[in-house]
Symmetry: none
Subunit: 209 residues, 4 copies
Amino acid sequence: MAAKEKLLRKDRTALIKTSRAGRPRSNASHAAILAAALKLLHAKGYRAVTIEGIAFEASVGKQTIYRWWRSKAEVILEAFARHTADRIAVPDSGNMQTDLEKFLVKAFDSLTHEAGEVVRGLMSEALIDPDFAESLRTIFIASRRRALRDILFKGVQRGELGSDVDIEFVIDLVYGAMWYRLLNRHAPLNHRFARQLSELVGDGLALSR
Amino acid sequence: MAAKEKLLRKDRTALIKTSRAGRPRSNASHAAILAAALKLLHAKGYRAVTIEGIAFEASVGKQTIYRWWRSKAEVILEAFARHTADRIAVPDSGNMQTDLEKFLVKAFDSLTHEAGEVVRGLMSEALIDPDFAESLRTIFIASRRRALRDILFKGVQRGELGSDVDIEFVIDLVYGAMWYRLLNRHAPLNHRFARQLSELVGDGLALSR
Amino acid sequence: MAAKEKLLRKDRTALIKTSRAGRPRSNASHAAILAAALKLLHAKGYRAVTIEGIAFEASVGKQTIYRWWRSKAEVILEAFARHTADRIAVPDSGNMQTDLEKFLVKAFDSLTHEAGEVVRGLMSEALIDPDFAESLRTIFIASRRRALRDILFKGVQRGELGSDVDIEFVIDLVYGAMWYRLLNRHAPLNHRFARQLSELVGDGLALSR
Amino acid sequence: MAAKEKLLRKDRTALIKTSRAGRPRSNASHAAILAAALKLLHAKGYRAVTIEGIAFEASVGKQTIYRWWRSKAEVILEAFARHTADRIAVPDSGNMQTDLEKFLVKAFDSLTHEAGEVVRGLMSEALIDPDFAESLRTIFIASRRRALRDILFKGVQRGELGSDVDIEFVIDLVYGAMWYRLLNRHAPLNHRFARQLSELVGDGLALSR
DNA sequence: GACTAACCGAGACGGTACGTCCCGTCTTAAG
DNA sequence: CTTAAGACGGGACGTACCGTCTCGGTTAGTC
């Protein structure tokens, strides 16, 4: 992680290890901020959410937000991540291609019907803010890659995928295609697309090299 | 295109067809604005460029910018597009895989060494501004897809790619992977990646379906 | 006047002499700001007036205030000065002591019943802000001294005051006593005090030296 | 004294008379706070001193300051008063005018070279805070008036000043003139001014009435 | 050759949100 | 019960830009 002149409180306390002095962080405020962020996100869309708006909605001082998060994107990311934490279930039917298709259908569905705008907003921020880009990579991107990696790895173990296949490359292919359509909106993230990607991985790459 | 209450001058004059009386658009100002945008882009990065900054740098009234462009992103897109217009050359060696690899290597190189930050900035804007998203799609994305489509289409004609292959899907795969790495920066856009993608298209998909 | 890195617009335009470019200053906004300042002053007292409050009350952007004034004190000073411009009438009965007493009674009355709190507020600001202190001296203090000087000077001409009397010192004495009671509030600014001061100047100093 | 809903600890303990159980007030903290206040006063000027700054500088909790003082002005007043407690010596040469001049020269000197800014700062606060105004009057103003009153009273006893002279009025005159110059800075508090005031009191008023 | 219309530079305008400072209060654990 | 520490809700600050507006002035084509 890059060195920061001005650490957030949570980073400072993490460093100092046992910082017990002073009034402890308010869980109520923490929760209220995340709830307010989600509410505003729903009500007005990513773009219209502001730190000031969140603070007002959560009946919280702006400083309390700035104490614990670096930007509105970080707040929204945490709110969104909590809200969807348990949703990245990895199916396990015994067949890689089936699992992959199921997994993608579910992801596409979520992105199409609810999460799409938020995810686009978060990515928008990451593209102009390197600090947040790292957060997004660590918290969001990495966990999705891990889920996909699980599916593919099981495929390798079962012999459905050649053991010489570059799994990270395959992940880039699949998620790349997904993000490309998510961001550009030139084509839908539908069932057909999920099937095409699953078949590519299941059939096309099975024989590769 | 979405209906707008307030058309830009270029749209209006395009509609009316024959330009009417009055002082004509200043080419000098037009050029100065694009030049200033590029200069600021280089000097301070996408995020720090503002309409006000461009106007000041170009010694131009803000209104003159708003008369001809909808946002700073549109200005930068035009400046950037002009600046790289002739760069999307499509190689034609007689072999699809070779052409594809060459094409990708060149694109990756440009994105890694110069254009990356600007392209990320433009995409950032497109993600929160539907109007600009359409501009980006029309002006930037579409032309790159066309170039790639040319290469693949020639491959089909030569029999290097099955005629039943879904070319648009292949384009999504290739550009998806590229953008995914460009945006997330979790892995480099290097020669190896170009080769992997070319081989996938050349070998792996040759037999598909 | 001390050199300033950041000149106010009025200072800049004064320097450049003929600055005609750009939208001219809005008289309506100017007047609305002063009116709002006075209104808030009345309604909530000096301390509770804020730039933000004035801007809101005047339906004006904060920047518009900062463009033309350095601080809320400057705004209030201008509003207050306009509001009381014609009030510093110099009586001319033909007798210095009578004139002086009348003049003081009127001033004391105003300070006791309306202006006192504002004047205390302005002085409070001047005491911690050298820039404003100069404004207050130039705009407020100087004009009151001039009025008193007029009265005393006429006294000298009529022979009611020795021509060797140090008029500036007498002004310091009279206004000093007045401010001292105004600021410390340890004794009232009443008719008796006005008479004591007038007698001092009329009798006591007539013979001095 | 005005009725307060929330008494300071020192007022409470004074009322209850016998201090109760629990950890006693820390003299070290008390001293550290006053020292820190003085240090910051010197280093950055009255305006830049804040409760938070004092607390940090003194390694003291903010609450500890609020427990014993009402505002930063009260802290600074106490620090300043202790620091200059023994300085208000009343000279006694046997001659009122000489004593007065000496007394004023010393006061002017102090105000010109060290205390001026602090005193202006304290007065600034008193002008917008009635509670502190009372403190300043009680602690600061009253003691200086007492000293001057001593000098004048001795003059009356010796016959140097008419017994019918309104001493409080004379005090207002002398201190008024001093404060007026101190606050407005339109003229210096120099030896000449001290002499003028002393002569006024010694000569001018001796004969008056 | 004047008229007229759209352009241009400059920059003021109302407004939104920013990120910071400091206020005075509160909530901990430690003494 | 005090203390150091520091989080809290809150108010205001002064700034950055937004997109719009209003000036004086410029530069064509049309009457």
